[in-house]
């Protein structure tokens, strides 16, 4: 099953490689991994999307907790959570494509953030499924380039991951 694991870790050189190394050394899947400092610059927050049986996920959580730099680990799937991913897509915007791209962007509530002679760059936020659906809707011929951040997640209501 797919799990989103959030963790807080010391914002130190090499901390990311400890997490990435753990996943590769133990053969765990990584669908995506995002990391950035938090409002407290000594801490980084990481979101890892992974998949595995219950026992594998249990081991992943335990092994992450064992890393000395990791302060807290939360499996978002243990409760209610919100998940978002940001995508930038550069699309063909010539002739009939120009109107079509604008319309698709509106339907998916994206924003055109760069306009050039023959291209638009669209910004879209949502769940991974929504981004997939958008790409499918655009069609291969329209897409020139895509970049996705991977998922970020946060617990709903008073589920808070903080030191």
């Amino acid at each position: 099953m797919r799990h989103i694991i959030s963790l807080l870790m010391e914002n130190e050189a090499g901390a990311l490689s400890r997490v990435a190394g753990l996943f590769s050394a133990r053969g765990y899947n990584i669908e995506s991994l995002t990391v950035a400092p938090t409002e407290d610059p000594t801490l980084s927050r990481m979101t890892i999307v992974t998949s595995g049986s219950d026992s594998v996920i249990e081991q992943i959580i335990k092994q992450l907790n064992k890393l000395i730099d990791v302060v807290k680990v939360l499996d978002l799937n243990d409760g209610k959570y919100i998940e978002r991913e940001l995508m930038l897509v550069k699309v063909k915007a010539t002739g009939a494509f120009r109107e079509e791209m604008k319309r698709m962007c509106d339907i998916f509530r994206g924003r055109i953030i760069d306009v050039a002679d023959g291209t638009f760059t669209i910004e879209l936020t949502g769940s991974g499924h929504k981004l997939d659906a958008f790409l499918e809707g655009l069609g291969q011929t329209a897409i020139l380039e895509t970049v996705r951040t991977g998922a970020s997640g946060i617990g709903r209501g008073d589920r808070i991951l903080k030191v």
Partner: protein
């Protein structure tokens, strides 16, 4: 030294020395080189600890590792950058697999040269990351003291392990004031100590009500100094107990409740009792593949498993556990002992029947071997070693058949006396391990049980032994084969002995003599005991004993890789009809 403008400032190298002094380090095992020259200069000027100059960095780490295993203190090794650092890796990985507390200080190229492929540069933090508990690169002289303090704290608390501190050369020349922190505060690292009381109560209830209880203990009992508490609990419950390879000595081997080592080369009675028990208490052990074999076969019998371990990730990793207890084994066992003392168990008919079953299994005499042979049997050498040393020696081993025979036939009654590489299975540890033990306990008898393959992997340390007058006794079981490889080739590769014959062996007696030691060749069974007595009587000499043993002897019992605990192959001498 302090200069006049900043009277309290000392160099990074001097800070390293002062830190080691603050940690009460007695010995540093190491080898100098360019990146650690400032530190070696500071060593020259100090008398806080003794530096032991090995002949290869791998041996420095192994010796520090054995010192830690024998004493319970943190072992310390010092190596230079680049090849010095990479030579240390096998030692670090060995300690990591067996959870041994070590601090390894490595030199690094100067900070401005890092990343430029400088002479003797290697990314030590990167290369050791998968085989350390933690590692640090120190980039400011002001951070040396706090980092070393943290390194010792991390190495010895929780589940112990090796910690690497990589220090660039320029940092060891910079100056600052020396302030050693009294305590370590780390929001990200707070290992659990006390077990959950509710779970502990539940565990004791299960053990008291069990019909076929069994206790299985590992390296955690030895490393956690919990042997005494373990004995008390097992005695009070009146239950059978087995030790893993790493756990030997955690429970006295000569006690009647001890059923021997379990696992791939464990005793018949230990493996059968593991398979057939209805309640299993596992303490400081991790159900690894060499211990319980195939987990699916293990599941084929129902049993309730209680697992006590300091490391949550060891619990339910290979085998699903019913009552997990995370905590220091010593504290958990103390709490268990209190509960048992408050309500001592009554002798039950079921337990009596269980012991009758175990005694029947014992009746197989699974460790018997041919005593009428005209060749020296390796098992016989170990039995005589046990007699001659009265069971009190530190016994180190390398890896292979001789290791298994040492584990099976030397009856360890005390913890921290059996020193071997269980997890990584590192050939070449035996001699440096013996060095570490001899430094840990200078007047003790130290025996290194080895093979002609393993001993040659760190034989250069005979020179170190001479320099520091280490009276180690090397028990070489020389069968001219990489014996365990040969055994597998005999059993599973139709006798195709691919590259397992050891040709062109040196004359070990002359070799030992050329290093300034005593060498002995022993070729007849009748000479074994006398030779051992003579060797151990030479209290101030290293004696290298070359026992020419039966080439074709195999280790039994044996569980083939991937098979289950009750699927043992026994020696041909033993009746196997009801297996």
């Amino acid at each position: 030294m302090a200069d006049s403008a900043h009277p309290h400032q000392i160099t990074g190298a001097e800070i390293v020395i002062r830190c080691l002094d603050q940690e009460n380090v007695q010995y540093v095992f190491g080898y100098p080189g360019g990146a650690v020259l400032h530190i070696y200069d500071a060593i020259y000027k100090q008398d806080h600890f003794k530096h032991i100059l090995v002949r290869h960095e791998q041996a420095a780490v192994h010796a520090a590792d054995a010192f830690a295993r024998a004493t319970g203190e943190v072992g310390v090794a010092l190596v230079t950058s680049g090849p010095g650092a990479t030579n240390a890796i096998t030692g670090i990985a060995t300690a990591y697999m067996d959870s041994i507390p070590l601090v390894v200080i490595s030199g690094q190229v100067p900070v401005p040269a890092i990343g430029l492929d400088a002479f003797q540069e290697v990314d030590m933090v990167g290369i050791t990351r998968p085989c350390v508990k933690h590692n640090f690169l120190v980039k400011d002289v002001k951070d040396i003291a706090s980092t070393i303090k943290k390194a010792f704290h991390i190495a010895k608390t929780g589940r112990p392990g090796p910690v690497v501190v990589d220090i660039p050369k320029d940092i060891t020349a910079h100056k600052t004031e020396f302030i050693y922190p009294d305590t370590v505060e780390m929001r990200s690292y707070n290992p659990v100590t006390k077990g959950h009381s509710g779970q502990i109560k539940k565990a004791i209830k299960l053990l008291m009500e069990a019909k076929r209880p069994m206790v299985y203990t590992g390296g955690g009992v030895v490393l956690g100094d919990a042997s005494e508490a373990m004995v008390k609990l097992v005695k009070a419950l009146g239950v059978p107990v087995t030790n893993t390879l790493m756990g030997l000595g955690g429970y006295p081997s000569t006690d009647k409740q001890f059923v021997g080592m379990l696992g791939m080369h464990g005793t018949y009675e230990a493996n059968m009792a593991m398979q057939e028990c209805d309640v299993l208490l596992a303490v400081g052990a991790r159900f690894d593949d060499r211990v319980i074999g195939n987990p699916n076969h293990f599941y084929s019998k129902d049993r309730t498993i209680i697992h006590v371990d300091i490391d949550p990730s060891s619990i339910s990793k290979r085998v699903k556990v019913h009552v997990p207890i995370v905590g220091e084994v010593k504290s958990v066992l103390a709490e268990m002992n209190e509960l048992v003392a408050a309500e001592p168990p009554q002798p039950s008919a079921a337990l009596k029947a269980w012991w009758a079953q175990i005694d029947a299994w014992r009746g197989k005499l699974c460790l018997s071997y041919d005593k009428s042979s005209s060749l020296i049997k390796p098992q016989y050498v170990i039995e005589k070693l046990w007699e001659v040393t009265k069971g009190e020696a530190y016994v180190t081993s390398d890896v292979g058949q001789h290791q298994m025979w040492a584990a099976q036939y030397y009856k360890f009654d005390k913890p921290r006396r059996w020193i071997n590489s269980g997890g990584l299975g590192t050939m070449g540890v035996g001699l440096p391990y013996a060095m570490g033990c001899q430094f840990a306990d200078p007047s003790a008898q130290v025996a290194c049980v080895t093979g002609e393959g393993s001993i040659q992997m760190n034989i250069q340390e005979l020179s170190t032994c001479k320099q520091y007058h280490l009276p180690i006794k090397i028990i070489l079981l020389n069968n001219r084969y990489l014996g365990m490889v040969r055994q597998w080739q005999e059993f599973f590769y139709e006798n195709r002995y691919s590259e397992s014959y050891m040709d062109s062996l040196p004359d070990f007696v002359k070799l030992a003599e050329s290093y300034g030691h005593v060498g002995m060749n022993i070729e007849k069974p009748a000479d074994v005991e006398g030779a051992l007595s003579d060797a151990f009587a030479m209290k101030d000499r290293l004696v290298f004993m070359n026992f020419i043993t039966d080439q074709k002897e195999n280790v039994f019992p044996m569980i083939e890789a991937g098979k289950g605990l009750s699927e043992m192959i026994l020696s041909q001498n033993i009746d196997a009809e009801d297996l």
